[in-house]
């Protein structure tokens, strides 16, 4: 097999897209499970002690925002990979 004459730029683009899909799936499912746990325990705490609802509410929202930012990091990385890949110029300039 002639490794030098393979269309590396096309392979690079295809690999990027192939990696981005599972990356999005993993990066969204894991923070979603974390957010589920936070919302569940927040609901339980409010149901047990409704008069502490305001305080619990703000803490739950804070934790949800923290977990949300994990998914946002994945989104930013995937967007950079697809739309503005900094490595692409090395691959395209090979030939």
């Amino acid at each position: 097999m002639d490794w030098n004459n393979l269309p590396w730029d096309k392979i690079f683009v295809v690999l990027t897209v192939l990696v981005s899909g599972p990356g999005v799936i993993v990066g969204i499912v894991v923070p979603a499970v974390g957010q589920m746990l936070v919302a569940m325990s927040g609901l339980k705490a409010i149901a047990r002690q409704p008069e502490a609802g305001d305080r619990i509410n703000s803490i739950v929202l804070l934790s949800l925002a923290m977990l949300e930012s994990l998914a946002i990091y994945v989104l930013a990385i995937i967007l950079i990979l697809i739309f503005a890949n900094p490595m692409l110029k090395y691959v395209v300039n090979v030939e």
Binding site: D54, R55, S58, L61, L62, A65, E68, S69, I72, Y73, L75, A76, L79, F83, A84
Partner: protein
């Protein structure tokens, strides 16, 4: 006042949506048969004109438009305040009291006089910056990374300001080494990391919305993006709330440091 449940209201709403779509397509210029619709072009800020070495992008224009609207609105709403408020003043008082309550619970002080101008300005600015993209022809400034970075940097510099103002210089500097001096690099690293976290949270959320809306807009331009745009109102206001909440938490960390 006439009640608004007549069938004309529905017709009026549909006509309004169609009129907004027509105006938006006219403002966007002739729909390009020549150029292909491109997601990256739809969301990235475009250079409108150059002013010497400065490139004035569409972000700057929509930010200044928003500032003009906010300033004019604040003047109109605030130049004759009444003891028995009308609907507009009532709404604004509700928002301001909500922000005051947020500061009271998260910062942990009773007197919100020195915190309210900064935190309230941030809340109003981010909320209206996320919503201004719904006006056809304007583009919200937050999907450009410079705007969230500037906001997060202003939070980064305001935290030591409020800390020094309430605890004094020595009291503020002492909280870096509070339990033990080995916490110093961790504290400094977390101050820098949370600035970038604030930036990317706001940027990524609004950018994701904009990308989904523009993909739907490319696929089916007329009615399909409307539910997603309605959802983007909710997301934008929620992000403004989250940014304000985190600002209050960070300021509270500096203010409550020496107690």
């Amino acid at each position: 006042m006439r009640r608004m449940n007549s069938p004309f209201t529905l017709v009026f709403l549909i006509a309004l949506v169609i009129a907004l779509a027509v105006v938006g397509s006219l403002l966007k210029g002739p729909a390009g048969e020549a150029e292909e619709p491109n997601v990256a072009q739809e969301i990235s800020p475009s250079v409108t004109f150059t002013l010497g070495p400065l490139e004035v992008t569409s972000t700057v224009i929509s930010t200044w438009t928003m500032m003009l609207l906010l300033g004019a609105g604040a003047y109109v709403a605030g130049h004759n305040l009444k003891l028995r408020p009308g609907p507009v003043q009532n709404l604004l008082e509700w928002i301001v009291e909500g922000i005051e309550n947020l500061i009271r619970t998260m910062v942990g002080v009773e007197d919100t006089t020195i915190f309210l101008p900064f935190v309230g300005t941030l809340a109003f600015f981010i909320g209206s910056a996320n919503l201004i993209g719904l006006i056809p022809g304007l583009r919200s400034p937050t999907p450009d990374i410079n705007t969230p970075l500037a906001l997060a940097l202003s939070v980064f510099f305001s935290v030591p300001y409020f800390g020094i103002r309430t605890c004094g210089m020595w009291g503020y500097l002492k909280h870096y080494v509070e339990p033990i001096f080995i916490m110093l690099p961790i504290e400094i690293a977390s101050e820098i990391a949370r600035t970038f976290s604030l930036t990317f949270r706001l940027f990524g959320n609004i950018l994701g919305e904009e990308i989904i809306i523009s993909i739907l807009f490319i696929v089916m331009p007329l009615f399909v993006p409307v539910p997603m745009m309605l959802f983007s109102i909710f997301t934008g206001l929620l992000q403004a709330y989250v940014f304000t909440l985190l600002t209050c938490v960070y300021i509270g960390g500096a203010v409550k440091a020496h107690k």
